[in-house]
Homo-oligomer: 471 residues x 2
């Protein structure tokens, strides 16, 4: 049973109920029964049906946008029509869609994008010079200086250079080569493209793809589409969803009886777990991939979303290089990032990149060929990716506004921590105005005296600990 | 031999030479021989190689962006570095990329896009009100009123409504249902998605996909990726590349011996042939598809690129409806369009749509599920699609500028026809300035008298015929 759960051949999943499952077959049968008594309609059997369609596509399950999400859309329409419900709006917490939740886009990014879109604005005095400079640089790298031209299938050259420079900075100087950067239509596109190239073989030689459980359902969906073998390894819920290399060993050992495990997918920081892997854990994983001859896929789209002061993001690329040439010139790695996550949250632009390490030169040719069938990723998404990896820097006109928007003010941070750790809700001084460089909070003193004493004691204890930690 | 040519099982193609073919294997072998004498590098065998990779991807050929295009990129870099060649620039006529060739984007489209991108501009007096109205309408339909949010996987609702209204207008009132419209990442994405759902079976039951020869190489590439069977039907070069239904019959008859032909792909207007199918031809094709139980794929991305006054574009959808309910309620059809072609040429935005007819309701659910794995098409491309199907109309502020840019001025049309029909090259009066509503041409009278007589006689004959035809 353990193995059956850990290793599921696509197509053996139970069918889902609901809008795309077998649950509707009876309704369809009824409909065709009705048609039979009205032969003048002469409805013939459809060519494309659940029975005749691609069984691998039928087996795909996609939780993030499944029946619940379709139902949410229906309920929204009902609310719009005035139907009473015990709530007045649907809050879509099913997907990381920051701007749909009210997050405002970054001004600088949107300024550059607007300038690229409508270059007449380059003459407008209401746009800052640094945004204009960026827009000119991007447009100069586009065919006909236009976002409306196709780009190279691998992506616009100067944007790939900016991505490589970003990775080099992020990894403390470990070099990145623009030739190894491929711009993509969001991270999903890159992940499915590289998996498509990797999957081969039949029967017991069919490619096994190791994925964490819980996973982001893109992986199981693409594995199903490609008729590959999904090899599950379980994250340790009792240990904050950490990855345990012994569990990887168990999974690969059992998988080898039924397929050829060739790919190891890692999601770090975790989705949906939020777990941030330690440097030691990443080293262990890389050593394991080296030992077991596994191609590493590192989904690192949440690299800018690490909030705990106790955690730090380490890229697989950096750790790989720090482990020495035996690893850094042998382990094959593809790592993914996108415009959708981080502080930008530009999901709709579908921008992303992948960096490949130690990819065989012939395979790089194959990769470009495969990407070229879809011509190129959206050029507007590529431009957005450029700003994500290359935000305003000190000395540039837009830097101050940019940095103000995306650091939590110290008083806000203090109040947030106070609430999280003590349950006491006070208001940051910035809501009331305060002299620059000073920070306050405002609290009401309405609780009865005994309660107030307790409250103040808690605030005191918190304050001392806070200063110890962040002073 | 005939059958062997017409019906090629993927993977049996001869390997290509060049950057992604076997031609490099010997170089790779040399490289690994060198490594063997330097064991300290300890390069291990790669996991992902030409031998181990997905053989279906390896078999993909993609002519439009193949080795020639890579070479073109190299030559451009050489020219930039100052290397002398017998020419000073590479002219990329390999792909329909209008803006890369210098075509200017449509002002109205880019204004709406800039307003959507950076809504602060909605307060700017330098944008026309009709563009602002469009931008507000699109943004109101986006999550958080932002292009940065994911849209529904099928596409933004109001844009699908605009597409349906466009199709209804185009087809003289034949109704289109927004529920049957799916926005896509360019037409390529829609075509490969629907093919992915259609392909099934093994051995002699494997799905056969009929495609014209010559074809647009997306088709052969996707058929290869999906391990489907490519069934070639040949267009009649001696008859302006017309489609002959007898050739369809021959192809399907021979294909049935080796696979299950289930899909018929039509490219109209033709790519690369430019052939525009007559209404009669389309009727014949639809009847054939009905008879042979084939799912129709109508690639109609060049529907706005019909230049000959003798030809007219007829959509498969419209002809299907005009053939009566036996066809219109039975024949399964998917038709494709994009922002890339037509007069807009917005290739980089990767916008497109498909309309499906008679798709089984369960399959519609499967389609949405499959699209949802990639979350959504780029929202900026969806917005561009909206303006393509919904350009400014008379009475709107931007209409005059819009229509001026995209109808050929009468004098330009006259001179173009004169050149095409007589070989005489004169210049339209608009290049020199003329009173509004009047049209002129300018010709030099430098040829010798005898030649000039002939020339003037030809102009006279042309002029009389021109007035007969267009008066």
């Amino acid at each position: 049973m353990q193995r059956a759960a850990a290793l599921v051949r696509r197509g053996c999943y139970p069918r889902t109920l609901g809008p795309w499952g077998r649950g509707q077959s009876s309704a369809a049968a009824e409909a065709s029964a009705v048609l039979k008594v009205r032969p003048e309609r002469s409805r013939r059997d459809r060519i494309l049906t659940l029975e005749s369609m691609n069984p691998q596509v039928k087996a795909v399950e996609y939780a993030v946008r499944g029946p619940i999400v379709l139902k949410a859309g229906e309920i929204e329409l009902e609310l719009q029509r005035g139907i009473k419900k015990p709530f007045t709006e649907v809050i879509r917490a099913n997907i990381g869609d920051a701007q749909a939740m009210g997050q405002q886009p970054i001004t600088f990014l949107r300024q550059v994008m607007a300038l690229c879109t409508y270059p007449n604005l380059l003459d407008s005095p209401s746009f800052p010079e640094d945004a204009k400079k960026r827009a000119r640089r991007i447009l100069q790298a586009c065919g006909g200086n236009s976002l409306g031209s196709y780009s190279a299938s691998q992506g616009v050259n100067c944007i790939r250079e900016d991505v490589a420079a970003y990775i080099t900075r992020r990894d403390g100087g470990v070099p990145a080569d623009p030739d190894n950067i491929y711009l993509t239509t969001g991270a999903s596109d890159g992940i499915s493209t590289i998996l498509k190239i990797l999957v081969s073989g039949g029967g017991k030689s069919r490619t096994g793809v190791m994925i964490p459980i819980p996973q982001y359902p893109l992986y199981s969906a693409v594995i199903s589409e490609l008729d590959a073998i999904q090899v599950n390894y379980y994250l340790d819920e009792d240990n904050c969803w950490a990855l345990n290399v012994n569990e990887l060993r168990r999974a690969v050992r059992e998988a080898k009886e039924q397929c050829d495990p060739k790919v190891l997918c890692i999601i770090n920081p975790g989705n949906p777990t939020g777990q941030v892997q330690s440097r030691k854990c990443i080293e262990d994983v890389i050593h394991f991939a080296w030992e077991e001859k596994l191609f590493l896929l590192a989904d690192e789209v949440y690299q800018d979303n690490v909030y705990s002061p106790d955690c730090r993001f380490h890229s697989f690329k950096k750790v790989l290089y720090e482990m020495g040439p035996e690893y850094s010139s042998n382990v094959e790695l593809a790592s993914f990032h996108s415009t959708s996550k981080g502080y930008m949250g530009e999901c709709g632009y579908r921008g992303g990149y992948m960096e490949v390490i130690n990819l065989h030169p012939e395979i790089k040719g194959q990769l470009v060929k495969l990407l070229s069938v879809r011509l190129c990723p959206p050029v507007s998404g590529q431009a957005a990716m450029d700003i994500v990896v290359n935000p305003p820097v000190p000395g540039e006109e837009s830097f101050e506004q940019f940095s103000r928007t995306h650091q939590m003010a110290p008083d806000m941070f203090y109040c947030m921590k106070l609430l999280e750790e003590t349950g006491i809700c006070v208001v940051p001084g910035s809501g009331f105005g305060q002299r620059e460089g000073t920070y306050h909070f405002r609290m009401t003193i309405l609780p009865p005296v005994e309660k107030l004493k307790t409250v103040l004691q808690k605030v005191k204890d918190f304050h001392i600990k806070f200063l110890e930690k962040y002073a």
